[in-house]
Symmetry: none
Subunit: 231 residues, 4 copies
């Protein structure tokens, strides 16, 4: 009968680390990686391979066979770590974006002048996202997000809404000081927009017309935070 098992939404499988626990108990000092280390390593290898394949071909067109090959494992092994292809994809996106979440909250607290902050933000974006595999993850989010509403919601809830809330708080203060037009408080998307352009552009048109992203973003903040502005 062997039917596709009804997908429980986005759970993660994974070898229960009984052996790992044992190793820990034993005080494992062996040079050969412990079982749990190997296990974690594999998981990472699969995620890395999946990122490559999903980025290159998109979710649907990616074959798990290729992911396995790239990760240097057998096809079935993937299923020891991820319930199914959907889950693999979602875990990948979550795993790559989760580290961002911590840093975001911090941002709201600062009280630097906005233009300075903006420069740091640009830097952060370029170094932590644009020059990183996270760029690909966000591109995947953009491309495939519609078919993974859970993921879109996660991204919105855990990343975007927080970023925007933090920005709004900040911008409100800045606007009160006249540093920033009030419109930005309502539409923090306007600040982020060029970052989106950067990601989409690099995916589609880079080869026809390269884009100096850092300079573009710089130009953008100079436009927004024009000194003599009357808010």
């Amino acid at each position: 009968m062997k039917k596709a098992s009804p997908r429980k939404t986005s759970e993660t499988a994974g070898p229960k680390t009984v052996a790992g626990a044992r190793a820990a108990r034993a005080g494992g000092k062996s040079l050969a990686p412990s079982r749990e280390a190997r296990s974690a390593g594999r998981r990472e290898a699969i995620l890395a391979a999946a990122l490559d394949e999903f980025s290159a071909r998109g979710f649907e067109a990616t074959r798990l066979d290729d992911v396995a090959k790239r990760a240097g494992i057998a096809k079935g092994t993937i299923y020891l770590y991820f319930r199914d292809k959907d889950t693999l994809f979602q875990e990948l996106v979550r795993a790559m974006l989760a580290p961002l979440i911590g840093g975001i909250e911090a941002m709201g607290a600062t009280d630097l002048p906005v233009n300075l902050l903006a420069e740091r933000l640009v830097d952060l974006f370029v170094r932590e996202i644009y020059e990183t595999r996270r760029q690909d993850v966000i591109r995947l989010m953009i491309s495939e997000g519609r078919r993974f509403p859970k993921l879109a919601e996660f991204y919105y809830r855990e990343v975007l809404s927080r970023v925007f809330d933090a920005m709004r708080a900040l911008l409100k203060r800045a606007a009160a000081r006249g540093e920033v037009p009030v419109a930005l408080v309502e539409f923090p998307q306007l600040i982020a927009a060029p970052a989106l352009v950067a990601i989409v552009w690099s995916g589609l048109f880079e080869r026809y017309a390269p884009l100096d992203v850092r300079r573009m973003l710089k130009a953008h903040i100079e436009l927004l935070f024009v000194p003599g502005r009357v808010a």
Copy 2:
């Protein structure tokens, strides 16, 4: 993209009679539509159905069976008009974006004050793209473009580069008059960025946080074209 199609010589199959059909429709006198008109009608029906399906599910997940059903024809008939699924997709995007091309060139000629022009542009975008099926086409372009380099190139060459060239010419003059910061001349993407945000946002997050696109775009041009700016 599942099977390598055995012959891949010409790019588009089917009666290359869009123009002819149109002529026939205009000049034909028989009440029953002429063969060419019927043919063109079918082609349109297929494209319309394809747009619906591709938009709803993405390229890979779309089944030609469903496209046919929606178009009210048999599956095989699609192959009388389009060589294969890839071609159908590319023709669809091209057909939807082609009408834009004409309008673009015109834009460069004007010499209205940029802020006025910008308002018209916003209006144009909202009415001709955002509130139109073209929004879906551009979203498709964004989502699937990477797997259709030809299409990306077409889009860049026929649409984007022209738009940006026209904008640059215009902005240069405006910058010379001090109406606009010079940075925009180098990065006209900065003007278009919020439009991209609008399209991506509406596809992914509209349900969690609706976005008043028209107001956002308005706010954006007000930011850019601040009157007292020192360029």
Copy 3:
């Protein structure tokens, strides 16, 4: 994403016979079998092949590839006629047992002396079931029925319960006339039991110890309908 489509319970697919209707309209007299005839033929071929394979290997162990090969078609073709393997199996059983249903109802009406009737019943069983592929179907029912509760219920409702109801009515009258012990009215299964033995035996032990089924059944009714019995 290509997931197993959620199974709608036991519907039957099948090429809609539009073409067939057309042929009918046209008054098809061509010697080549009409499309609908070919279609029906294929359906039969698949069912026949499926019966062979299911009988030989059981439900789970049967590969649809083999069914297709035996039917002389491609694997995918099966899915034009049957939603999935489950459905194929259930349709097979239903199709083979349905013809029995008509004959059953008739039985209750007769008012022959039971021993005569019993002899006819034996004859019916041997000719219509035991010497027929229906034997295999019933064996399949016995072997796999537990995993197809719907089928078991169908079989009980449409076949067994009717047979037993008819028998009970009949036996009651016969018992009233003293021809039959009353116990049989309560347990008509006792009359059918040797038929079950015949089917099970022939599947498992025939090769070690052949069984003369007809004689066994004859002996059985002679045991039951002993003339001088005091009910």
Copy 4:
């Protein structure tokens, strides 16, 4: 039966120590169970778990993973005791039916009046089989036997043929005394038939129409051993 196992020489793997283990249990004095006892215990646990799973799902649909889980051991451990899934199944059936064999031989020796004997037989069947896990084993035999010819042969040779031989001897004497119709001597299956009905019925139709097996069997022997019968 999925993969051809690379080595198929001996029939059963694992410690052939059932007897040894039993002896150990009887004679061992250490409180911690001896190695053999532990081993035998595991073997029993696996068999018990296998019985549960095979009964619930059938041979093919049973996953050794589930058997292991139910037995509280690791999957690989099964292979220390049984060469493969096939062997496990066959060992299970053999192990469950073996105890019956001893009791059978005894039966032939008695010289009670058959009707009395028959009553004891019914009782034996109900208590030792029908109300026991052996019911499931026999059902498995019936369902899966065809794919295990060796098992069918074993069952026929070691169980059925002996039962029937014993019965025949007995019935012959009884028939000579006029207690029983001669037909039964030729077809002792007729005596066993309702037992088969009981097992099959309880598996398939119990939920739709419960069957009072003990009464049915009682009714059956009353039918067969009618006092005033003229053999």
